[in-house]
């Protein structure tokens, strides 16, 4: 029996693609290698009794129109948006908190720099305008550049209008800012180190660059897409954890008739005469299909799953050259009590607790990583999901999910052995304790996931959660590789729908939705 369409990988993008396709009447079979759906968003009791998630609480921002299209609310999706976006403790016992409410944030900033507080509304307004432009660009497959096809012209015109609506000066400003470094950009705006550090952290998320790297201003804007104006570096949580989102999507997809199989790892995408004809599972089972859609990362898809003899070596070279240098380790800490940061309320801890006191701090953290070492003084992003959902941990206990950057995949010397792993968790405890001294004594369990683990357990090449860094040369029409940015591949009948494609990671399901739409367009044509 030849199936209509197989999707490889049951992460959020794979599930979203499956749901959109099934909803349009396509007979979909989704294959997930692991026993749980959700990919990185899948939860696991990595510390017994604590429901952890490797992706780090936040499966990325779920765009409201995806939730609406797929009627996820009706299926039980509940999003919680904490009032606090970022709380950034400083040395000497102060802390800067950025709230979803810009006025409240400005008050807060005023304690650090009245000038900066004064400029805050202007800054947030500009960021919101730029993010809106990106959101429009992200909603469609990237037009073919520099020689657009006829069908791109409408898209380009719409995007052009959107850009023009910014006004003359803002439009040039957008073109100027996007390729800048987040450090230079923030230097143009602000004086306070604390503020610049807390914001710049958003520009280096999962990228092997420091805040002085060109293009980090773009990364910052990328992570503002979909956020309400003023909610700088805001996040929302799915009630029940990101695993719940996967479960809801799976239910909706099944409701539309999609077939989902877990524990079904794909060994090979079978290609004959340049055309994908199905997949072979690790078990040896062959599943024939007219179309195959891979949500695994492009490097893995092409260098591990497709016979290289079926590919142009130059294409394969381009795929191998995709930069996805994993830089983040996730450390789960089980705590017997909440961390106590001086001057920080429980409400302020509802969002991300960021250890990023200055631009130089972040840049120094990157310096170590350049030479293959874990940052001696790392940038940390801690979230306490138990503040919102106490069911994730035993009564009275707390779970803290900490993302540590930089923990380079290519660790020198020796690589990721047990010693290196335990050093990472010690480093997290020590670093947090420098700001919240009670952490050291309250750790009752810990679990470390290194980039190496992400590769080994989740199949992510070099442990990069976004399937490829969001650098200027790897976005838009360059993602995943030049000439193949529209979810198609050189193999007929084989498509990509993961975070390795436009618009990339950090936006839950956006790539999966775009890919599904392109596939459906192609079917209609």
């Amino acid at each position: 029996m030849t199936r209509e369409l197989i999707i490889i990988g049951g992460g959020i993008n794979g599930l979203v693609a499956a749901t959109y396709l099934a909803k349009a009447g396509v007979k979909v079979l989704l294959l997930e290698a692991r026993d749980a759906l959700g990919g990185l968003a899948a939860g696991a009791d990595q510390i017994p009794g604590y429901r952890c998630d490797v992706g780090g609480c936040d499966a990325g921002w779920l765009l409201p129109d995806i939730a609406a299209d797929l009627q996820l609310d009706a299926a039980g999706l509940e999003l919680v948006t904490p009032q606090a976006c970022v709380c950034s403790p400083q040395e000497g016992g102060r802390a800067l908190t950025l709230w979803a409410d810009p006025a409240r944030t400005a008050e807060e900033i005023n304690r650090f720099s009245p000038d900066d507080a004064h400029r805050w509304p202007e800054f947030t307004a500009q960021v919101a305008r730029f993010a809106a432009v990106l959101e429009a660009i992200y909603a469609v497959a990237p037009p073919q550049v520099p020689d657009p096809e006829a069908r791109d012209l409408g898209t380009l015109l719409r995007l052009g209008m959107k850009l023009r609506r910014l006004g003359k000066r803002e439009m040039v400003e957008f073109l100027r800012v996007a390729p800048m470094s987040v450090a230079e950009w923030l230097d143009d705006w602000f004086k306070s180190d604390a503020l610049k550090g807390a914001l710049a952290a958003g520009g280096i998320t999962r990228i092997f660059q420091g805040p002085r790297g060109a293009g980090t201003a773009f990364v910052f804007l990328h992570h503002q897409v979909g956020r309400p104006a003023g909610a700088m570096r805001g996040a929302h949580y799915v009630r029940g954890g990101p695993g719940a989102l996967a479960a809801i999507l799976a239910n909706v997809a099944k409701g539309y008739g999609a077939d989902i199989r877990t524990t079904a790892p794909v060994r090979e995408i079978v290609v004959r005469d340049g055309k994908a004809i199905g997949v072979a599972l690790e078990t040896g089972e062959h599943l024939a299909a007219h179309q195959v859609v891979s949500s695994t990362d492009p490097r893995r898809t092409f260098s591990r799953m497709v016979d290289a003899g079926q590919l142009d070596p130059e294409f394969l070279r381009a795929v191998r050259n995709i930069k996805c240098r994993g830089a983040v380790a996730t450390v789960h800490l089980a705590l017997s009590e909440l961390p106590r940061f001086p001057g920080v309320t429980e409400e302020a801890m509802g969002g991300a607790i960021t250890i990023a006191p200055s631009l130089d701090y972040l840049e120094h953290a990157y310096d170590d990583a350049k030479y293959g070492a874990v940052s001696r003084r790392p940038y940390l992003e801690a979230r306490i999901p138990t503040l919102l959902d106490s069911s994730l941990a035993p009564a009275g206990k707390h779970l803290v999910t900490v993302q540590l950057q930089y923990a380079p995949y290519h660790l020198r010397p020796g690589g990721w052995d047990d010693r290196a792993r335990s050093q990472v968790s010690d480093l997290v405890v020590e670093t947090l304790s420098a700001y919240a001294p009670n952490v050291r004594g309250s750790v009752v369990g810990r679990h470390v996931t290194t980039p190496r683990d992400l590769e080994d357990r989740y199949g992510l090449t070099e442990g990069h959660a976004y399937h490829g860094e969001l650098t200027l040369d790897q976005i838009l029409f360059m993602r995943p590789v030049a000439g193949w940015a529209r979810y198609r591949t050189p193999v007929e009948g084989l498509y990509l729908c993961g975070a390795g494609t436009h618009p990339g990671g950090g936006l839950a399901g956006a790539a999966g939705r775009n890919a599904a739409r392109e596939l459906l367009k192609e079917r209609r044509a």
């Binding site: 550049v145 520099p146 100027r176 800048m180 790297g213 060109a214 293009g215 070279r317 350049k370």
Partner: protein, 526 residues
């Protein structure tokens, strides 16, 4: 009664002189005002110690536009560019990596380090050739203003767009990568030999406050290949008589066309009345009137010092204020009693006629950058060394030599400022690093001149000692150089033009800014 000039050019650097020569050639009455006793700006040759001539600041030439050489007939005024044949990178293990004038020899040399790299060179060279071809018309293009709806700008944008479309997808994408990537990442896609990547990267970081792993450094790799498509045999050259000879030859051409050049005539103020300029005031108080004033100084100096905020729109002032200079390089010029003896290639050899590049690995360059990021000069800096007297014997007394060492990084904003002690320490670090590769260097030194970014600023007036009049980073290029809407050599002050490297395309002894500015002035005058 003083005369009224058609045009006054402020600053006798190479771009100012090029503008002057083109305007004079078109029959305009032109006056060049230079603050120092000699023309050239950062392209000067000075006999700092008797018998030893230094190209004090800039030192090599690669991009001087051939059309300028032809239009102004510069060889008639003494210009002769001698080839720099080779680049040799000494390695820490006592070996070296070389690129020679002959492709076979280079191939064999690289194959000694990596067979694959030797092959990749050919294809990489072809790609760079294509990229240089794609970029060349942009360098010669008046940047269109993307926000303007004027027919001229729309036509320019259309031409710009068509240019990219004609490149085809493959080359456009390659160019896009080149513009956005770090030189280290870009070269990683092609090569495996660290020293090869480092030495190629080094050309990508010259004059910037960026490391080889910083995005935006890849496109400068092109410069090595630009010469090739201009019909010249080799990209890098050394001007006979030092870089000052280039300036002198352009000045000679300008004078032949009737321009007047006054030295020791610093400008203190650009006269502005009702939004237009009518001339300048000299440091000695003299007023000189002109229909058009052209500044070859950097945007800071021109607008914030000579014009003054009060005459300019707020937005423009804030754009100029945030325009970044961040001088990052210094120069050490040595008078030598004997030739350096490099451990990797002992004794006399062809390598001494080329460049010696101290860039043994990407990490080496990156660490040099790390020092600078936090306000220190590099303890072990990147150095580009040439021995001009090996190419042009007239640069030093017979049997003796001059050595020009371009050094990076030496940040303008060094912690504690550039004191005399700091300057000496910087010079010592350079000599120390060099002696690691050429142990006899210390005993060979007769005289030493150390030039820091602060010295460059003080002597030439270049803000923060940036030799390119502003960093060549993506957000300061093309229609953003120096400020949006003012990238076409004009300024918010009527009849005040800009012609320095702070305008498109900027950087290096290229002269393109000066030429494009002259063309703009002439077409506006029509």
């Amino acid at each position: 009664m003083s005369t009224t000039w058609d045009a006054i050019i402020i600053g006798g650097g190479h771009n100012g002189l090029v503008t002057a020569a083109y305007l004079a050639r078109a029959g305009k009455k032109v006056l060049v005002l230079e603050r120092r006793h000699l023309v050239g700006g950062a392209a000067v040759t000075e006999e700092i110690f008797p018998g030893f001539k230094y190209s004090v600041f800039s030192y090599v030439v690669s991009l001087l536009r051939p059309e300028i050489i032809r239009d102004l007939d510069l060889p008639r005024h003494g210009l002769e560019i001698l080839p720099l044949e080779s680049t040799v990178t000494p390695l820490d293990n006592g070996d070296y990596l070389a690129a020679w004038g002959d492709p076979d020899k280079t191939r064999r040399e690289i194959a000694r380090h990596s067979l694959r790299d030797a092959e990749a060179m050919t294809e990489f060279g072809r790609l760079m050739h294509h990229m240089a071809q794609a970029v060349k018309p942009i360098l010669a293009m008046m940047p269109p203003d993307p926000t303007s709806l004027s027919p001229r700008d729309l036509a320019g944008l259309l031409r710009f767009g068509r240019h990219f479309r004609d490149l085809g997808q493959e080359r456009f994408h390659a160019l896009y990568k080149l513009m956005t990537m770090s030189s280290a990442d870009y070269l990683d896609e092609w090569f495996e030999t660290d020293a090869l990547k480092a030495t190629k990267s080094a050309s990508g970081i010259i004059g910037t406050f960026l490391g080889p792993r910083s995005p935006g450094t890849a496109y400068v790799l092109l410069h090595h290949y630009m010469g090739e498509i201009d019909g010249s045999f080799r990209a890098w050259g050394f001007a006979k008589g030092g870089t000052g000879a280039i300036s002198e030859s352009i000045a000679g051409a300008a004078r032949r066309f009737g321009a007047e050049i006054r030295t020791e005539a610093g400008v203190s103020k650009i006269l502005v009345r009702r939004g237009g300029t009518s001339g300048v005031v000299l440091e000695n108080g003299e007023e000189v009137r002109a229909r058009v004033v052209v500044s070859s100084l950097d945007p800071h100096r021109t607008f914030l010092q000579l014009v003054g905020d009060e005459h300019l729109p707020d937005e423009f002032v804030s754009d100029i204020r945030r325009y970044k200079f961040r001088g990052s390089s210094g120069k050490v010029n040595l008078a030598l009693g004997e030739l350096p003896n490099f451990t990797c290639l002992p004794g006399m050899g062809p390598h001494l006629r080329g460049a010696m590049s101290i860039s043994p690995s990407i990490d080496y360059l990156e660490r040099a950058y790390d020092d600078a990021k936090y306000g220190e000069f590099s303890r072990a800096p990147y150095m580009d060394i040439i021995i001009p007297s090996m190419i042009d014997p007239g640069m030093a007394p017979p049997g003796k030599h001059v050595m020009s060492i371009f050094v990076q990084y030496a940040p303008y904003n060094v912690t504690g400022g550039w004191t005399d002690a700091k300057r000496d320490a910087f010079g010592d670090a350079v000599v120390e690093t060099l002696s690691h590769y050429a142990p006899n260097i210390k005993q060979a030194i007769l005289h030493r001149q150390v030039v820091t970014p602060a010295d460059i600023e003080r002597t030439t007036g270049l803000t923060e000692g940036n030799i390119f009049q502003g960093e060549l980073s993506l957000h300061q290029l093309f229609f953003l150089r120096p400020a949006p809407s003012w990238a076409q050599y004009r300024s918010p002050i009527r009849r005040l033009y800009q012609c320095g490297a702070g305008t498109h395309p900027g950087g290096g002894i290229m002269g393109a800014s000066g030429r494009l500015a002259a063309l703009r002035i002439l077409s506006d005058g029509r």
